[in-house]
């Protein structure tokens, strides 16, 4: 069952990206602006044309940062919404922009996200939570728990996971926007510092800063805004789900199993496409185990077999399931609010065949999956 019936076709008309890394001299609003401007330019529209904007970010940098950032472009009085859904804040902003147009409320929308993630282990619960004493709220430890269980159930060797990190760095070395471009060998990945056994440093995404933006438009309004149809990319599916009961009544305060399957099913149904149609995929690889499990949850490989596909090179740019083609969270870095829209930026760039050395051959269908704590999942499918 689809979530709603989209009344109207919606496209991505423009995308923009601020490099990911550390930019102490720039505040959050500045980072955001420096992604929005290129997106408007890419779409060929003016700021005054935008009727609504959604801004994804997580960490507090003052109230109404979306409004502060966009005030620099001119106070047009449009509705501006700040969106928080943990690591999928940006993709949630994109999802909202899509549905605002698909349901006929707006003809065009801006979705953008930015973040300055502080250094150190990421936690979900607030500072005063009893979790501080209990020790279960630790993002990478949560991934490590899943990794160890996966290794037990499938027999996957550590090298398969390390290969995902090696691939991420290989892709990022071809991407000037990436936070971590340096390539590493399998051994270097496995011998990097242990964060939470068996996850080593290079198997975990860095904490980062950055921003991304997208301009969405109704297909029926492109002419009115003078948008070049040739460079637009169709949004075939836009799905957002939160946690559904998984049979375990889990200690949900911090640990999200990140269940993507329900969202994936809806996305395939909405688009009329199947996993076999997907030419490239961006998934939530906050840690290497994340990439493997999302590939399985999306039905791109059978359950328990993502490690083999990775070890065999099938997820490389030249493989049959190119995954995280720009380096993913692992090597692009992960500024929470920006990540979901960064995935859209990469997917659009690939489908336009403008990815240069990272170009996947014959890319026509791209899938972007982004997760957030609280068991949020977004799945977007783009086609050209």
């Amino acid at each position: 069952m689809t979530q709603f019936n989209p009344g109207r076709e919606v496209v991505v008309a423009g995308v923009g990206l601020h490099p990911f890394g550390r930019f102490p001299e720039k505040d959050l609003a500045t980072l955001a602006m420096e992604a929005v401007l290129p997106a408007l330019q890419d779409a060929g529209v003016g700021w005054k044309d935008i009727p609504v904007a959604y801004f994804g970010h997580v960490y507090y940098h003052g109230m109404s940062v979306g409004e502060t950032a966009l005030a620099n472009l001119g106070l047009t009085g449009i509705p501006i919404i700040n969106v928080e859904n943990a690591c999928s804040s940006g993709s949630t902003a994109f999802w909202q922009a899509y549905w605002g147009i698909a349901t006929g409320i707006y003809d065009m929308a801006l979705a953008f996200g930015a973040e300055k993630v502080p250094r150190g282990p990421v936690t979900v619960t607030p500072e005063e939570s009893p979790e501080r004493y209990i020790g279960g709220d630790h993002m990478m430890a949560g991934y490590a728990l899943r990794m160890r269980r996966y290794m037990e159930e499938t027999g996957a060797p550590a090298t398969a996971f390390a290969q995902a990190a090696v691939k991420a760095r290989q892709n990022a070395s071809l991407n000037p926007y990436a936070h971590r471009k340096q390539e590493y060998s399998l051994e270097e990945v496995l011998q990097s510092r242990l964060i939470a056994d068996p996850l080593t440093l290079y198997q975990c995404c860095p904490t980062s800063e950055g921003a991304a933006a997208a301009v969405l438009c109704a297909a029926d309004s492109l002419d009115r805004y003078g948008i070049n149809k040739e460079r637009t990319v169709r949004i075939a599916a836009a799905v957002l789900t939160s946690g559904s009961y998984n049979g375990k009544g889990s200690d949900h305060s911090a640990f999200s199993p990140y269940r993507t399957e329900p969202g994936a099913v809806k996305a395939y149904e909405m688009s009329g496409l199947g996993p076999e149609d997907v030419d490239l995929v961006q998934v939530h690889d906050a840690a290497t185990i994340g990439e493997l499990q999302q590939l399985e949850a999306l039905g791109l490989v059978p359950p328990g077999e993502a490690w083999k596909a990775t070890a065999e090179g099938r997820t490389a740019l030249t493989g049959d399931i190119p995954t995280n083609t720009d380096g993913g969270l692992l090597a692009m870095g992960h500024p929470f609010g920006a990540t979901g829209i960064r995935m859209i930026h990469e997917t659009v760039t690939q489908l336009r065949h403008e990815a240069g050395p990272r170009q996947v051959k014959n890319a026509k269908v791209g899938l972007a999956q982004c997760s957030g704590a609280g068991d949020v999942t977004t799945v977007h499918i783009l086609t050209k």
Binding site: E127, Y133, I134, L145, G249
Partner: protein, 134 residues
């Protein structure tokens, strides 16, 4: 008088805080159990819940050895974080103690144990639920 880290999850049954039980709820409509606080059933949303005391024996579903602790962690580093499956079904995240790392094994039997934990800084001490090999 010892204080539980979270009275919604751990009920102390003596003054010293050396004995206690984990709390949860059992849905009277669909029968599932959840660990910790609940007003409505996680599975079927019914409000017909009965508070229950959960079992003290569990199975180690997974574990990790945390080398870089989260901010505010008051204990030793590294520490073992376990994902423990209770007989009633729910899973609990908690530290696993009294187990050399080489003995940790998925599927091993563990039992509830309580420890008094001093806060990292500026907080009070709390009794925290942990698990140890049977």
């Amino acid at each position: 008088m010892a204080v539980s880290v979270d009275t919604r999850r751990l009920k102390l049954t003596n003054e010293e805080g050396t004995e206690g039980v984990l709390l949860g709820f059992c849905c009277q409509e669909c029968g599932i159990h959840v660990f910790g606080p609940a007003t409505f059933c996680q599975g079927c949303s019914s409000s017909n819940l009965a508070q229950v005391e959960l079992g003290k024996q569990g199975i180690l579903y997974s574990f990790t050895i945390v080398r870089i602790p989260p901010q505010g962690w008051p204990g030793d580093v590294p520490y073992v974080l376990g994902q423990i499956e209770l007989p009633e079904g729910p899973q609990v995240l908690a530290e696993v103690v009294d187990c050399p790392h080489e003995n940790l094994k998925i599927g091993m039997a563990v039992e509830l144990t309580l420890r008094l934990v001093e806060a990292a800084e500026g907080g009070s001490e709390r009794v925290v639920y942990k698990w140890r090999p049977v």
